[in-house]
């Protein structure tokens, strides 16, 4: 989900960047130097998975966005991680774009941060099994839908005439949100069983955040 290059007038592009920059700064501050390899490896996984995995929906298929998943264990670090990931997508594949980088980082990153505060604790307490899946799913659906709302808002701010595009996108995106949720639920359940400490990483991070 991204705003295409060229769509955002300069005011909206700058507003997007103005929101993104302080959030990215908070994310970077939370990241201690020795945690950079960890954040980067996570960014690489998210980057590769979003590009290569296609979840089948009916006759078609979609790429997962993984905003909810990233949020669950990255917290504020999700902001710089998505900035890097989106910049690479623009650079290597021309998804999104340079003028809309700020907006797109906000669209993807802020819901991830939100999900961290809403669901990280719940997933940690869930214990392996059905409830881990449930809270993971909630994280996936929530992040996806909030991203959609931010995307739609940004698009309409770019021009009221974009309304119909948002309208057309609404129903498919609700379906995709469910797919994203199921996928995120399974990943969360997997991680909680195999490597539960992953959900503690970012707690450790904010504790030792100040250098």
């Amino acid at each position: 989900m991204h705003i295409s290059e060229g769509v955002a007038p300069i005011g909206i592009a700058l507003a997007g960047a103005a929101i993104a920059v302080p959030c990215i700064a908070v994310g970077l501050r939370a990241l201690r130097d020795e945690q950079i390899p960890r954040a980067a490896l996570t960014a690489s996984v998210l980057f590769v998975s979003t590009l290569v995995i296609r979840l089948p929906i009916g006759p078609s298929s979609v790429h997962p966005l993984l905003g909810g998943l990233a949020g669950l264990f990255l917290g504020w670090a999700a902001m710089p991680v998505f900035l890097v990931s989106l910049f690479l997508q623009a650079l290597l594949f021309q998804f999104g774009g340079i003028t809309t980088l700020g907006i797109n980082t906000v669209v993807m990153g802020l819901p991830a941060v939100l999900v961290y505060y809403l669901f990280n604790g719940r997933v940690r307490k869930a214990g392996a099994g059905k409830s881990a899946f449930f809270w993971g799913m909630m994280a996936g659906v929530t992040a996806y839908l909030v991203s959609f709302v931010l995307w739609a808002t940004a698009l309409i701010l770019c021009g009221k005439q974009m309304g119909p595009i948002v309208g057309i996108a609404l129903i498919p995106n609700i379906i995709v949100a469910v797919a994203e949720g199921i996928f995120t639920g399974f990943v969360a359940a997997f991680l909680l069983r195999v490597y539960p400490s992953v959900f503690e990483l970012s707690a450790a991070r904010s504790k030792g955040g100040k250098r």
Partner: protein, 222 residues
């Protein structure tokens, strides 16, 4: 012991890597029903490549690949092969990806169309057969190297393959685990190709062995 049905037949296979380095240059060989063949050769000689060509994971530049009596060329032709031949990868970490041993073993049967209950039952009985009875709920990622190798073998056998392709099943294992695997293999009825750079184990586990070198397969031995 060798049967008369030809399961695998490679004819004049040429294969080079993307970079252009030639690996196979006219390799040919046959595997018959109930036959157990060992393939040995150095690292990089193309042993693994041969197994991957049989499974359709790599396409040869030229040559004929026949599996289960039919010529296989396109991705679609190999779907049937993959349901009927089992490949054990060299590194169990490339093969195992589910949280628990039971789920990993059930993955193949689920792909073959069994229901979840049936698949879990097949897995359980396969784990028992390999002496991994209590392993079902163990977290795969936390197993030791030898245990992972055994579980990989279980995931392959759970699909009841007609042919087994085993890539370095003994490498790096302690003697006990290696012997355990030789024992298990001896108890199976399938035809198999075992790739290894360790001739002594190959001789224990197979009837004849071939050498892969300079891009060809040679030297059938009794």
């Amino acid at each position: 012991m060798t049967g008369t049905r030809r399961l695998v037949s490679l004819r004049d296979i040429h294969f080079s890597h993307e970079g252009g380095r030639s690996v196979l240059a006219g390799a040919s060989f046959d595997l018959f029903d109930r036959q157990r063949i060992g393939l040995c050769g150095h690292v990089g000689s193309g042993k693994t490549t041969i197994l991957h060509i049989i499974m359709g994971l790599l396409r040869p530049d030229s040559g004929i690949v026949e599996v289960f009596g039919e010529r296989r060329e396109k991705e679609k032709d190999f779907r049937d092969v993959r349901g009927r031949a089992g490949l054990l990868f060299q590194d169990p970490d490339d093969q195992l990806f589910c949280p628990t041993v039971l789920e990993d073993t059930a993955f193949g049967p689920l792909n073959q169309g069994y229901s979840r209950e049936e698949a879990l039952e097949i897995s359980n009985s396969m784990l028992h057969l390999l002496g991994l009875g209590g392993f079902g709920e163990r977290i795969t990622h936390h197993l030791s190297g030898g245990e992972k190798r055994l579980v990989s073998l279980a995931t392959v056998l759970a699909m009841k393959p007609e042919v087994l392709l085993l890539d370095e099943p003994f490498s790096g294992l302690d003697p006990r685990s290696s012997e355990r695997i030789v024992e298990i293999l001896a108890g199976l009825s399938q035809a198999m190709i075992i790739v290894s750079h360790d001739r002594s184990f190959l001789e224990n586990a197979t009837e004849s062995s071939l050498v892969v070198s300079d891009g060809i397969i040679s030297g059938q031995q009794a």
